[in-house]
Amino acid sequence: MKTAKKRLGRALVGLGFCLSAAFLTVRLPPLHGQESVAPPSKVERKNKAPVSRDILRVKLPRPIESRLKNGLTVLILEDKRAPYVTLQLYIGGAGALFEPNNMPGLAHATAAMLSEGTQSRTSVQIAEEIDRLGAGLSAGSSFGSPDTVLSASGLSDNFDDWFGVFVDVLLHPSFPAGELEKLKQRQRAQLREQRSSPGFLTSERFNRAVYGDHPAAHVAATLESIDKLNREALSQWHRARYAPGNAILGIAGDVHAKQLIVNLERRLAGWKQMDVKQTWPRNPAPAKARRVVLVNRPNSVQTTLALGNIAIDRHSPDYMAMVLMNHVIGGGASSRLFLNLREEKGYTYGVYSNFSALRYPGPWRAGGSMRTEVTDGALTEFFNEVRRIRDEKVTSEELEASKRAIIASFALSLEQPARMLGFAITSKQYGLPADYWDLYPAKIAALTAGDVQRVARKYLNPDALQLVAVGDASKIKPALEKYGSVEIFDTNGAPLAAAETP
């Protein structure tokens, strides 16, 4: 156990920017139109708790890296704390991002079919073998992702057995026609079922609004694209796009790295090198004008809101500043949105923001669900918070507290080998410098209030936000009309003509 401690590079250091005692009291903007229900319940910092001023700074362990003869990049993080192994295989160029525009869902269906039959195993045999071994196996490609991702995990003492199944489904899928028909039937039923979820309906319209024609606009397959799926299309996708040279295999847990690399060279020898041309779609551009979209979900008792716009990609020089700015405004239960809309106003169970930054720019997005009656007030507060982070510099106390939160949270990731490996995989995927995560805390620490304000002004333009609301249109349409002309859709995704709108 002592060795584990040492290996994790534990060190207590006082950072130069550590806080003086205080966190500031957040000043809230004046309420627009006094809410009759708003109780005088105020967030308060007493600053009496015993806090260690130090930040437990941790050095993330670096995995052993190698490249197999077929071009596959392998990252191995030895971690003997539990008799367990997790692995993730990211196959670049095989993701939904590269699907033909009329075939959304092709990449995911291909991945899902890997475990439905191989040249030597039936669907049931694969399922039984994985479950008998106490292992887990999954594969998929999310919409907008350049990768297909295969994940597997299980006990270390039968790793060779479940890894064998993993290799088999990766290299020798047979895409049996009968199983494909069954998959298509399941997907059709899911397509219908997910339209009952306000979260799905919100994402469907939000992604369409921010991404436009970009493939990441899709959040689901369509009945038409499911109909088009066939053995040939799937096996072609697999044959032409699962290229080891574009892939990263990350393995974390109770393994012996050197032996494993030799083992991998042998077991993955059948995965032949090939060239895949990756034609990246044109980058999505931020919308220049505000757009207001309403999905009419009759009898909803809440409105589910999303608002945002395209911001940055992973290589943007503004990345760190966006991490910090997002943390301040919507990064959790101590963020401005949460404290304002929940803790002060009681509008919601929770509101948050996040942003997506991949190889292409993705949106910053804020949102949450609130009872129908306060839709108007909630929108006011979302826009107030957006304006406030643009118009006013964060105080030094709030700035330092947020930096500290981001830096100090690295310690918690040391509990989970899969999370530590995740950092390394990210570095590799985006070609980040080897010392990227070592320098990350210092880079966060160097940010200023001016940086936060600068990226807020650059990426959070209230006049260009794409605003999506899912709720009972007969009750919330007037509130939305304050922000622009409202486009209305039904829950099946069809636009409603003005005459049909409630």
Binding site: K5, I55, L155, K182, R186, E193, G350
Partner: protein, 481 residues
């Protein structure tokens, strides 16, 4: 540990959290069991002494030490230097089963109040202090207990202990904050139940299956009861249930036990003990026949069939056998119900089977999401055929071994998360008065035989013990395809 997450939606809302953020993960455990006892230990001499030193038999056992403070607070400490972090969890022996008629949802509403500040912590400051120091925190309530927990970097040990002690000692329960959290909890109810498909089903099932009040109502409670709750109720509830002698503190992670104990004693020992609360009456009359109900759901797109049977509390030999059954039926792609209903017959979109783990009379819960055009009568009949198969023949040897392997996997996984271990220790201590169950539970599963499985299937899956709730899409919603 019991197996969870076989069902893709959050309808199984027995456990609800104070907030759901990006960091919050619902832990894949569930344990609950019998005795409403777990009496506070007799007051110990001032000096805290270890009560038990468990024998180390397995390298993956979790070594813990138990203490009881002067005021009756039970403390379980598991020092472990695998990562430079620790988790603290306080599990209070109070859940929605302790509520009074007319005050459903109160235990959970009160849980929210403990994030509204205390003598030395301002409203909202709890999350601010935890997150700004790199940690994560939450609180959850279910029918049988309420817990609060933080995971923090190792150098913030005193902060974690202080935060839990300050709110156990002197929470600030004000009218303004109470009104604010009432609104928040009502939004939680809307988000998790009233605005989602099948949101009414859970309450319909427990309302029909149970006769006695403690488990007949949901933990989230009714809107009317939430509206009726008062600050006076909150103060009374705090005095009755939030005493140190009605709680267990568990601490797992990177610290020195002696130093941690000194801090625990410093902050918790001044909190006075209270008269122990009266345990609720958990007796449930025998069910005399099948119960059925059909409900309509304006948001659902496809019918769902929920069938429950009454089963014994957790940590009983029969419960372990029933939990293994749930795994054979619905855990993993190779499970019986998934293969039969989703793959072979293609009449269900998803299947779920679970032996709920409770301290009192529990339910074995089947839930089948139908495909479009599925004949619900046929679906139900096929499920009974599967149940009859369990009763008429032993499960296959490979199925039996599979479950043991899946348990081994869970056991290995749990070694990573200090929070998972802290919460489990608290759970076992409050439910069964036995934190050591964190290690011995695996042997309890291992001692189940295939004959036991057949026996419990016969004993509990009886027609007369059954409650059937069918949820149908309400076509009047107007947006059906």
């Amino acid at each position: 540990m019991s197996m969870r997450s076989k069902f893709p939606t959050a309808w199984h809302a027995a456990l609800i959290a104070v907030w759901i953020g990006s960091e919050w993960v619902i832990l894949p455990f569930a344990i609950d069991a019998a005795q409403s006892k777990s009496p506070p230990r007799a007051v110990q001499p001032a000096r805290a002494e270890p009560l038990a030193q468990p024998a180390q038999s397995d390298p993956y056992d979790i070594a813990s030490k138990q203490f009881t403070l002067n005021n009756g607070l039970r403390v379980v400490v598991a020092e472990d230097h695998r990562a430079p972090t620790f988790s603290i969890c306080i599990t209070y022996n109070v859940g929605s089963r302790d509520e009074k008629p007319g005050r459903t949802g109160f235990a959970h509403l009160f849980e929210h109040m403990l994030f509204q500040g205390s003598e030395n912590v301002g409203k909202g400051e709890h999350f601010i202090l935890v997150q700004n120091n790199g940690g994560s925190a939450n609180g959850t309530t279910n029918s049988d207990r309420t817990n609060y927990f933080e995971t923090l970097p190792a150098n913030q040990l005193e902060l974690g202990i202080f935060l839990e002690a300050d709110r156990m000692r002197a929470p600030s329960i004000t009218q303004a904050n109470f009104d604010n959290q009432r609104l928040t909890v009502q939004e939680e109810r809307r988000q998790s139940y009233d605005n989602r498909p099948y949101g009414k089903t859970y309450e319909a099932v427990i309302g029909l299956a149970y006769d006695s009040f403690p488990y007949k109502h949901s933990t989230i409670g009714s809107m009317a009861d939430l509206n009726a709750a008062s600050v006076h109720d909150a103060k009374e509830f705090f005095r009755t249930y939030y005493a140190p002698n009605n709680a267990v503190l568990t601490l797992v992670g990177d610290f020195e036990t002696d130093a941690a104990l000194n801090l625990i004693r410093k902050y918790f020992e001044p909190i006075p003990a209270q008269t122990p609360p009266t345990p609720p009456d958990m007796t449930e009359p025998d069910q005399q026949g099948e119960r059925r109900k059909v409900i309509e759901d304006g948001f659902a797109k496809t019918p769902r069939l929920d069938i429950v049977y009454k089963i014994p509390p957790g940590n009983t030999p029969d419960w372990y056998a029933l939990d293994i059954i749930s795994s054979v039926l619905a855990n993993g792609v190779s499970s019986r119900l998934y293969q039969k209903f989703v793959k072979e017959k293609e009449i269900a979109l998803s299947v779920y089977a679970d032996a709920s783990e409770q301290r009192g009379p529990a339910l074995f819960w089947y839930s089948l999401m139908a495909r479009p055009n599925t004949d619900l009568g046929e679906l139900e009949k096929l499920l009974y055929e599967e149940i009859a198969r369990l009763q008429n023949e032993p499960i296959a040897e490979w199925e039996f071994k599979k479950v043991q392997m899946q348990l081994r996997r869970q056991r290995a996984q749990r070694l990573y998360s200090s929070r998972s271990r802290a919460n489990s220790l608290g759970h076992f201590a409050v439910y069964y008065n036995d934190p050591e169950l964190i290690n011995s539970i695996w042997r309890k599963y291992e001692s189940v035989t295939r004959a036991d499985i057949q026996k419990v299937a016969r004993a509990y899956f009886k027609d007369t013990q059954r409650t059937v709730v069918t949820t149908l899409p309400k076509s009047a919603a107007g947006d059906e395809r």
